[in-house]
Point group: C2
Chain length 142, copies 2
Amino acid sequence: MTPTLSQMICFALYSANHAMQRVYAPLLSELGLTYPQYLVLLSLWQEDGQTVGALGRALQLESNTLTPLLKRMEAQGLVTRTRDSADERQVRVTLTAAGLALQAQAEPLSACIFDRCALPPEQLAALRDAVTALRDQLRPDV
Amino acid sequence: MTPTLSQMICFALYSANHAMQRVYAPLLSELGLTYPQYLVLLSLWQEDGQTVGALGRALQLESNTLTPLLKRMEAQGLVTRTRDSADERQVRVTLTAAGLALQAQAEPLSACIFDRCALPPEQLAALRDAVTALRDQLRPDV
DNA sequence: TGCGATCCAATCGTGTGCGATTTAATCAAG
DNA sequence: CTTGATTAAATCGCACACGATTGGATCGCA
């Protein structure tokens, strides 16, 4: 028997992800950011100067997605993209002053989202860990 | 303090959703379907002849996403799109024989995905319900 | 009955995601 | 050295998502 839409874990993840993006979008828009651009910045604030490949591993995206996205961020003056002199195949992505400065402006966001979730911290952390574990289970080998 | 990427529930949902789509994609590709098209079919197999608006409420998508998607499915011969004669503003989406027939072919999919999740049914259902509850919490009013 | 407000779908432009391929740089084995 | 294999990014084409707007159809109320 074919299950209903709402019974499926895939649709739960699909629709929850979109709902989350819809909460973030208007807030990020004030900073001139899209949702994936914000995720890239989160990763760079954590560790600046990552290569495209390293960002891809962190965000679980390929260069065919990241390259145009990073070019738009470079055009906005948030990052610079420079070939690694030791290995010219790699491109390092480095925050500009403007990209660094956004961290302060984005800082209140996570608390705002946390409130919106309306869950005790432990429950939210448990949910996050369960979702992450499922994700890692679904990923090929690694 | 800015949290790390992996600490954020938003990234857990984002990456888990993508991981799920990456599991489905090659299987659906054999049926000539994309992931959102499969979700539309799930909804139509549950209730045929829904309007674009009703499908949008079920899938939580707007007409600007659904209309082109449904046109592609119509071009593939999976559904028909007809204006409701009682209210010409509405468009009813109805399964063709081919669209109905796909249900049998897609039937093994959900079990296949379930195995991939490698979780006991109760745990998977609990996770699904928690994700769904969070999604509904994030949705505006309703 | 008329006419403005509302509702539904469609259209348009932009930004992802991703399969498939290409280009350039590095590595490895002889 | 050199040449074939591997690796890293970029490119291309297509299918979503979605904000903003448009065009018809229906509704509500004087």
